[in-house]
């Protein structure tokens, strides 16, 4: 099991490394949010320019991680159709190990993408001390696992990549917007505050921001840890179930693809 997870992670990180240029292009989006949107909105908001950038910093890092994790998860859909995974499916590796490996590998990629935004923190007016960084990295670890589990749980349902942009717009964007990444939930309309309670991204972003500012929306913050742990476990369970379903039809879960012609 552990060796299977390890093998999946090594495979995905080797593939990720081939695309390492994406790390740099992936930096563009958070920087645009931070220094264009942040500066523009900040100067006209009650929070004030510097304060607004400071406020959204954690949210923007979270956004970057959320989309990286989802993008990484898309590889599952490709894996079903072509290539190396055919051979993996006949290796003595439990399907559960494949699901967990995919989640871990996606989380590593998301965390890496998030981490390269951190050096820009001082420019956004976010002072980073050693304590803040350690707390933030811890929160990012949990957040990236959450986002990756979300991505894998979705990707495991799909046979084709064409529907994926639809999903990311219909699911990821609402989750991001409701998370309070770009505005304080405290002063948001009540319905948003209520909805945020059902949004795992909100808990993840809140933990990351809290790690930097010491101020949390969800209190006590320990409860956020529990919520995220539960979300990760539940979503991993969903993915494992879907992957296991494929055990008898030579596929990885939902799809019926690949080399078998009847």
């Amino acid at each position: 099991m552990i060796r299977g997870i390890y093998a999946v992670v090594v495979l995905d990180l080797k593939r990720f490394w081939l695309d390492r240029a994406r790390l740099a292009t992936g930096l563009l989006q958070p920087l645009l949010y931070l220094f264009v949107l942040g500066a523009g909105i900040g100067s006209s908001s009650r929070l004030g320019g510097g304060n607004y950038q400071q406020f959204i910093f954690a949210g923007v890092v979270g956004l970057s991680m959320l989309f990286t994790a989802t993008f990484a998860a898309i590889s599952i859909v490709f894996d079903r159709q072509i290539g190396f995974f055919k051979a993996v499916l006949v290796a003595p590796v439990p399907r559960a190990a494949i699901a967990i490996g995919k989640i871990v590998a996606g989380a590593v990629q998301a965390a890496a993408q998030g981490a390269i935004v951190l050096p820009f923190a001082p420019l956004a007016g976010v002072p980073l001390g050693v304590g803040e960084v350690i707390a933030l990295l811890g929160a990012m670890m949990l957040a990236s696992l959450t986002f990756s589990a979300i991505g894998v749980a979705f990707a495991s349902q799909f046979k084709s990549v064409t529907v994926f942009p639809v999903v990311s717009n219909a699911v990821l964007l609402p989750m991001f917007f409701l998370s309070g990444a770009l505005y304080p939930l405290q002063s948001a309309p009540l319905w948003i505050q209520v909805a945020a309670h059902f949004d795992p991204v909100a808990y993840a972003v809140d933990l990351m921001r809290g790690a930097l500012t010491g101020q949390f929306f969800f209190l006590p913050w320990g409860l956020s840890l529990v919520v995220l742990a539960l979300v990760i476990t539940a979503l991993a369970g969903v993915s494992i179930r879907v992957f296991n379903r494929g055990e008898d039809d030579s596929a990885l879960g939902a799809s019926k693809f690949s080399w078998h012609r009847r």
Partner: protein, 323 residues
């Protein structure tokens, strides 16, 4: 202990019965071919033995282990080459093998060593560090074989492994497989190419979910009961009548005339001397596996083999196409 044992295996998809009761035994160390047209059930049977599908009924064992109940043990003992590529094209051959080793539970150091070993064994060392997609078709197929060998399996499963390769690359591939078989491995393969099936010790002909014959290539061809004569004349209709009058039964059909004879080389001069119409072309050939398939099933093979359309469907032997 037989390498593969299949007893009464039935596989039903929603409404389709892909396998209708398969029984076969592959002996250890044997080269065994599964030959049949598309849709015959080859790939389904292959998938069941490869633990990718479960049989609806019946039992299948690989090296004495049940493919359902002892799936992981079976997986550990198998090396499989699929019809489609199953290597990560963007990674190097060495990385592919290393990863496969990890998936089979080897430690990193052991997996690296094993990868280097196999690459050397298959003559791929030079190409090992380039992305797989930059290799030639033949090299990539060899890499697939290398991947299947990572676990040093006692049995090798090949599913149409040379599809799309040119003749040279195919020959190279089979030479490699021959070497592996010579070292005592069992090789179980499916194929479309007749000449590939001929290298097998035994062949199972499969059609519509059933094994229609299982024997050595020589014994299968002996079932035809002679050689095949093909004639093209100025007036085939008259030639057919003449042949019928002389107790030589040509197969029904248009175009060429085909007939089976126990001793075609001796019969042909007599036919040519006495046939009342001019002969344009004549050919004698040994019965091919395809002729055997036609005789047993009444249907052609499709795919790569050229089978003359034979509307009425041949009833007797020898209606087959070229070898």
């Amino acid at each position: 202990m037989p390498a593969v044992e299949v007893i009464g295996v039935v596989k039903r998809y929603d409404r389709v019965e892909a396998l209708r009761g398969i029984d076969l035994t592959v002996n250890a160390g044997e080269k065994f071919a599964l030959l049949g047209p598309n849709g015959a059930g080859k790939t389904t049977l292959f998938s069941i033995l490869a633990t990718l599908r479960t049989p609806t009924e019946g039992v299948a064992r690989v090296l004495g282990r049940d493919v359902v109940a002892e799936r992981d043990a079976v997986r550990r003992s198998l090396g499989i080459v699929f019809q489609e590529p199953a290597i990560e094209q963007r990674l190097s051959g060495r990385d592919n093998l290393l990863l496969m080793g990890l998936f089979y539970g080897l430690g990193t150091a052991a997996a690296k060593q094993r990868a280097a070993e196999i690459l050397g064994q298959l003559g791929l060392t030079e190409a090992a560090d380039r992305p797989a997609r930059t290799l030639s078709g033949g090299q990539r197929r060899k890499l697939e074989l290398a991947r299947a060998l990572v676990t040093n399996p006692g049995i090798l499963f090949l599913d149409e492994a040379t599809l799309g390769l040119d003749v040279d690359a195919r020959r190279g591939f089979w030479a490699q497989v021959g070497t592996l078989a010579a070292s005592g491995r069992t090789v179980f393969f499916t194929t479309h190419y007749m000449e590939e099936a001929e290298v097998a010790d035994r062949i199972a002909l499969i059609d519509r979910g059933r094994i229609v014959a299982l024997d050595t290539p020589r014994a299968l061809k002996a079932r035809i009961g002679g050689g095949v004569i093909r004639l093209k004349t100025d007036d085939d209709a008259q030639a057919r009548m003449w042949l019928a009058d002389h107790a030589l039964n040509a197969e029904a059909g248009t175009g060429e005339i085909m007939l089976v004879h126990s001793d075609p080389a001796a019969a042909l001069p007599e036919i040519l001397r006495h046939l009342p119409v001019r002969v344009q072309r004549v050919e004698i050939h040994e019965p091919s596996l395809e002729d055997v398939f036609l005789k047993l099933t009444g249907r052609g093979f499709g795919g790569d083999a050229a089978v003359p359309a034979n509307g009425a469907g041949p009833r007797g032997p020898g209606a087959g196409g070229g070898a």
